[in-house]
């Protein structure tokens, strides 16, 4: 009886979000799924080709290069953005003076357009006029000087760096919000019990914000899987596809080469990859919780 009393509220509350989401996000996704099974240049009639597009991309070495690049970006973002975000947030949380100023400053890079950041970094890396090499020389690491964007070994990481760095502030904000929602008494009583700062962090604070860590990890993974702008602006994904991610490769295929069928197929693989990673991650999170 009670169960049915809930129904009108449930429907009333869920309907708006469900409708908008389904109409403007899910249906377009289904359409993209359909395009991925066709040959379409964006102008003439679509020709149904079944799974040919997928066969094409899976046998294309460029696809696998961008695939690897994307995975590298996901891993590097996870290893840098999350710990850095958490560390900075925790330092700010520990009764730091000027916390508000720091918090705002850390967030600033997030709001700056990637075009500007990318331009700045291109100038930064430039071996003729840039300061990066000069800086290395100044601190005695002159041996590491190189043409960052023209060296096969460094160029992908040089393109990743601005993006990974730019969004750390996002995680600082989320973690700081999470830390501040921990009841103060919890930490205080641990302090009274004589726990050290590291102990407090790992045994009191971390378990409290585990939910938010999950949020950050998912945001970080999906954000990296969709990465586009920095690579597109700095190098156009090149040379070749050496600094392209799946998102860049998809855009280039669909909008530059007008092959919307194959472009949509690449999109579907991005979605599938995200799904797999998210499901794996949730399984893992559930395992560690038990």
């Amino acid at each position: 009886m009670k169960k049915y009393r809930k129904a009108p509220v449930c429907i009333g509350f869920l309907l708006p979000v469900f409708l908008i989401y389904t109409l403007f996000l899910f249906i377009p996704l289904v359409q993209t799924g359909y395009y991925s099974l066709t040959e379409w240049n964006g102008i003439t009639e679509k020709i149904f080709v079944g799974l040919d597009n997928f066969r094409d991309i899976f046998s294309n070495s460029d696809y696998w290069i961008t695939f690897q690049n994307t995975i590298k970006l996901v891993v590097i973002s996870l290893l840098i953005q999350i710990p850095m975000g958490l560390l900075l947030a925790y330092l700010l949380y520990m009764k730091t003076r000027g916390m508000k100023i720091y918090r705002t400053v850390f967030f600033l890079p997030v709001v700056i357009a990637p075009v500007a950041i990318s331009l700045m970094f291109s100038l930064f890396y430039n071996s003729e006029i840039g300061v990066f090499n000069r800086l290395l020389e100044m601190i005695g690491l002159g041996a590491f000087q190189t043409n960052w964007l023209s060296n096969i070994r460094t160029l992908l990481y040089a393109v990743m760096a601005p993006q990974v760095w730019q969004y750390i502030g996002l995680y600082v904000t989320i973690f700081l919000g999470a830390l501040q929602s921990i009841p103060g008494e919890l930490v205080e009583s641990a302090e009274i019990d004589g726990a050290s700062r590291t102990q407090i962090f790992f045994h009191v604070v971390l378990p409290e914000i585990v939910n938010f860590t999950n949020i950050c990890i998912v945001l970080c993974v999906t954000g990296s899987l969709k990465a586009f702008e920095h690579s597109w602006i700095m190098t156009g994904g090149g040379p070749g596809v050496r600094s392209a991610y799946l998102g860049v490769y998809m855009y280039k295929t669909a909008f530059v080469n007008s092959d919307f069928g194959t472009g949509s197929a690449i999109t579907m693989t991005i979605v599938a990859l995200s799904l797999v990673i998210t499901v794996l991650f949730n399984k893992l999170a559930a395992l560690t919780r038990d």
Binding site: N41, T44, E128, N147, W148, L149, G236, G238, S258
Partner: protein, 432 residues
């Protein structure tokens, strides 16, 4: 609490103002007005916008009682995406600037574009003969008809800084050996011989074509690309190998990616860090007066085994023009208005105005040389007796072949692939 109230008041005000802005902008359309959509890739930040907009505005005002013209302008990159989505949704603008060759192929095949002879037949203001005949080549499709009216033409130039050459007692190189010699001296003095990078294929792909044209049969090979010819030729491999040799001899900046693209390449030259650069007139706006003063336009050095004298040729091609939406043109309501809009876009008045931005017109109009920048005057003098030759960019039959050439050339420049591999990669796309 007070603050909160202030805040929500402020937001409400912004919302209302925004709402007004949205609804207030909606002009009531008179029944008898024809609405026409004109689209260009001359965004507000483009040097042509300032020369185009006044002419357009004047036209718009003069025809305010019969036409309702919407102008859509975007920067080039955005513009391409916009036109592609508009094509997909069937909302192609009535008249729009666009590129020919491989870029327009799909549109022509789908019958979206008007054969421009139909327009020339309907107007008494403009004739096809008013344009340089070669200028239409870029817009001629497989069926032999032209589907665009060319606006801008261009010329590839090798700029050399006279003062730097004098300072080190050097002569302008005319052969490849001399170029290597000059390069050696300049490098010893910390000067980059030639500021050419490769990022997204600029400006490297044009240098590639310019050098290519020095070889026997090159002109025919480039022209043949449009109709199914091969990219993979002995000449292509030879040029790619020479480029690699030039890189090994440090003729270009070390970091070709960071110093690639139009602006960054030119910058090394205008900062006097490089003695020469290969560029195009659309960059002249960025050359300071003192550099214009000491710049000479010189022929490219003759490449090894080349048979064509580089002092007799120069790359020159149509960059883009405008196209007419066939369906709109055949709509009896829009037809007459469209002809008038096209007359304006192809008018001497607009063409002359655009030349002031440093554009070389495809239409035969009197260019006021005195009003041009010094460097442009030098270009016009240099180009007067040259045989214009094509570039791969305009004759490549498909957009993906162009983008493969660009991105692979970037790879060649950082020595990630060999000359053979570069040529093979492009050919593979053509063979698909």
């Amino acid at each position: 609490m007070k603050e909160k109230r202030w805040l929500s008041l402020g937001m409400a005000a912004i919302l209302c103002a925004g709402g007004l802005a949205v609804t207030g902008g909606e002009e009531v359309r008179a029944e008898d007005k024809v609405s026409i959509v004109v689209a260009t890739n001359w965004g507000e930040g483009d040097s042509k916008y300032d020369y185009f907009y006044p002419v357009f505005q004047k036209f718009q005002e003069e025809h305010a009682d019969t036409m309702d013209i919407t102008l859509q302008t975007y920067s080039t990159e955005d513009y391409k995406t916009k036109i592609k989505t508009q094509t997909a949704s069937g909302d192609l603008p009535d008249v729009f600037t666009y590129w020919g060759g491989g870029m327009m192929k799909d549109m022509v095949d789908a019958g979206l574009l008007l054969n421009v002879d139909d327009y020339f037949a309907d107007t008494d203001q403009v004739k096809r003969e008013d344009f340089d005949e070669g200028a239409f080549d870029y817009y001629i499709a497989g069926d032999g008809n032209a589907y665009g009216i060319p606006i801008e033409s261009t010329r590839g130039v090798l700029l050399a800084n006279k003062e730097i050459f004098e300072e080190y007692g050097l002569e302008y190189p005319t052969t490849y050996e001399e170029l290597l010699e000059v390069g050696k001296v300049l490098n010893e003095n910390g000067i980059i011989p030639m500021a050419v990078g490769s990022n997204g294929g600029t400006p490297s792909e044009f240098l590639f074509s310019e050098l290519y044209n020095q070889y026997d049969g090159a002109a025919e090979e480039i022209a043949a690309l449009a109709s199914g010819g091969a990219f993979k030729t002995d000449n292509a491999v030879k040029v790619a190998e020479t480029l690699l040799d030039m890189i090994d001899n440090k003729l270009f900046p070390e970091d070709t990616m960071a110093n690639g693209g139009w602006s960054a390449s030119l910058q090394l030259y205008t900062d006097r860090k490089a003695a020469m650069t290969y560029t195009y007139p659309w960059m002249y706006e960025a050359i300071p007066d003192d550099i214009q003063e000491c710049s000479d336009i010189i022929p490219l050095p003759q490449m090894p085994d080349a048979t064509v004298d580089p002092a007799t040729i120069q790359t020159g091609f149509t960059v883009y023009g405008f196209m007419i939406n066939k369906a709109a043109y055949e709509d009896p309501e829009k037809h007459d208005a469209l002809v008038q809009v096209c007359d304006m876009l192809a008018s001497d008045e607009l063409t002359e105005s655009l030349t002031e931005s440093g554009m070389i017109p495809c239409k035969k109009v009197e260019v006021n040389k005195e009003a041009q920048k010094l460097i442009m005057q030098k270009t016009l003098d240099y180009t007067a007796d040259k045989n214009l030759v094509q570039v791969h960019y305009t004759t490549m039959p498909s957009a993906d072949a162009i983008s493969m050439m660009d991105s692979s050339l970037d790879e060649l420049f950082i020595k990630a692939i060999s000359a053979e591999e570069f040529v093979d990669k492009v050919q593979a796309v053509l063979d698909k």
